[in-house]
Symmetry: C2
Subunit: 333 residues, 2 copies
């Protein structure tokens, strides 16, 4: 039996379980020459998928209503009539939210389960790590001794950004939403300081206290009021990497904020919208550095693994309540 998750409706505001539909199909899957039968092992759920569920203009085409959702997936080759892949290989690719599927193997890459856990290839050695590395180095242009602040710091990307910041000699401050996360940022990921936005009344002052020399680089995963508070603390020539805006993805009205423009002008500061796919030419160098740092134990990661294909929609929804620590992954089999 094959199970599939379909986009039933475009979500309004925060996604609900009723926006998703499960379909079951008992037909046997057969493969032709050049094809592979894949069994899904791990499914990546990511905030950016919310954008693809809307029909607004964006950097990727929206998902179609009535069609399967897809994201980055680790699968095992169950059968192969494709010379590039053998039965038993593990592969990674943008694949449908299905328990099994047939593909031609295009744009799949093999992953080596002996070098890292399979789920790591969805995280620290996948889009998460590449996003953190490319965003921080290419847009942030860090110089030793500068101060980096990261919002969504306990999230998948944020926790890696902070660690790379420390490796590169920065002072690193993380913003997250529970004391437990703040403690983890400092003890597990080596952040210099953390701010719990849920228990802090005056974020502007809290950031000023945590960053006495001001903010040179802001890696922004959240948008929203936290990012406004950062603006009051930026230094001349500050760089903001606009990587995510999870705080406003679910808003049905056009979200408002304080005007960033006077802050940018006063400080000759920049903001740059970032998606990792614009930096594919940097991926080989990034993968090499990330793998080296991982093997040297300079880099660690956390992940929240939810079990069961049927829990993919809820795991996705939980991202917007900050229920994940680090990369959110669903283990299917």
């Amino acid at each position: 039996m094959t199970q599939t998750i379909i986009l039933k409706n475009r979500p309004e505001g925060k996604p609900k379980l009723s926006d998703f539909e499960f379909k079951k199909d008992d037909a046997e899957l057969n493969i032709d020459d050049g094809e592979l039968l894949l069994e899904t092992h791990y499914v990546s759920v990511d905030p950016y998928l919310r954008g693809r569920m809307s029909d607004a203009k964006s950097y990727v085409d929206p998902f179609e209503v009535g069609k399967p959702i897809h994201s980055l997936v680790i699968a095992k080759v169950a059968e192969s009539k494709n010379e590039n892949f053998s039965k038993g290989d593990y592969v990674r690719g943008m694949l449908d939210w299905k328990t099994k599927q047939v593909t031609k193997g295009e744009e799949l890459t093999k992953v080596d389960s002996s070098k890292a856990d399979l789920s790591a290839y969805l995280g620290i050695l996948g889009m998460t790590g590449l996003t953190a590395y490319c965003g921080l180095t290419e847009i942030g242009k860090p110089k030793e001794g500068e101060t980096l602040i990261v919002s969504g710091a306990a999230g998948a990307v944020g926790s890696v950004v902070g660690q790379i910041g420390k490796i590169l000699g920065l002072t690193v401050i993380g913003i997250a939403g529970t004391d437990e996360k703040i403690e983890m940022l400092k003890s597990k990921f080596g952040f210099d300081a953390g701010i719990n936005y849920e228990t802090t009344d005056d974020m502007k002052s809290a950031i000023a206290d945590a960053a006495p020399k001001g903010i040179d680089i802001y890696f922004d995963n959240v948008g929203g009021p936290i990012s406004d508070a950062v603006l009051f603390n930026i230094n001349k020539f500050a760089r903001t990497i606009n990587c995510g805006a999870i705080a406003v993805y679910n808003e049905t009205e056009t979200p408002e904020s304080i005007s960033v423009r006077p802050f940018l002008i006063k400080n000759s500061a920049s903001m740059q919208g970032f998606i990792v796919s614009n930096y594919e030419d940097k991926f080989p160098k990034a993968m090499k550095e990330l793998t080296t740092w991982l093997n040297e134990e300079k880099l660690t990661y956390s992940e929240t693994i939810v079990e069961g294909f049927e829990n993919i929609p809820q795991a996705f929804i939980d991202l917007f309540d900050g229920k994940n620590k680090g990369k959110m992954v669903v283990k299917v089999s």
Copy 2:
């Protein structure tokens, strides 16, 4: 007699005449060795001076209450005991709002009244031209065939930005606040299209109509709601030069806008706060190109010349009501 204009109070909101005070002094001015006596001929009034009248953190120190205001000035050397300058030379520099003053000649540059009108050295061959050139080329990184939109397009900087855009092969759209200005943008400065924001209800649609291929470069002199409307029309990899925010300089509350962040992320777009003084290494090339284009009559400029030292404060205030066409200059003698 020497007249001086003092900052009497820090303005709240829009500056008023009562924020300025005139002082008269009958003492004769004498010069020592190394010094010059200068007679003020032209005074530049510019929106950025509003920022210096506040005590908020900015890229330059605020003016002091009770002290003279200063800005870029063209003066004539009335007496010289400095070997670098002779009586009769015309010079340009950051000088006090005084009818006469004594300086040591540091950071003064001579200007050649035979190559251009003296007032041009406050505008197209001064900060105005350099701001337009450096902002558009260094941050805008224009590529032939792209679409440029300019806010405050009939202002000093805006009208030069648009003309340079045309020289570089761009489609150029200007936004201004009267039909007369829009007509001037097209007939005098060669803009492809103009939008009168005062008579347009839906700026978002008006921009879409004027820029069917979308906006690649936005040279922003105004900030505020006009800039929000531009955001809805930006293309992938769009660049915004945040040069001015005249629409919000006078606001006493922190101004709000729609959140730019989702737009930047969706379009991998950037915003960069800009002040021309960060680009001094580009000035020689810029001056050479601007002078060439001016002599080839590819570049023209307009200026609003107000007569009389006593009218400097009102001329400055009038900037915020859009009463100038092109560079606003006060002719003192």
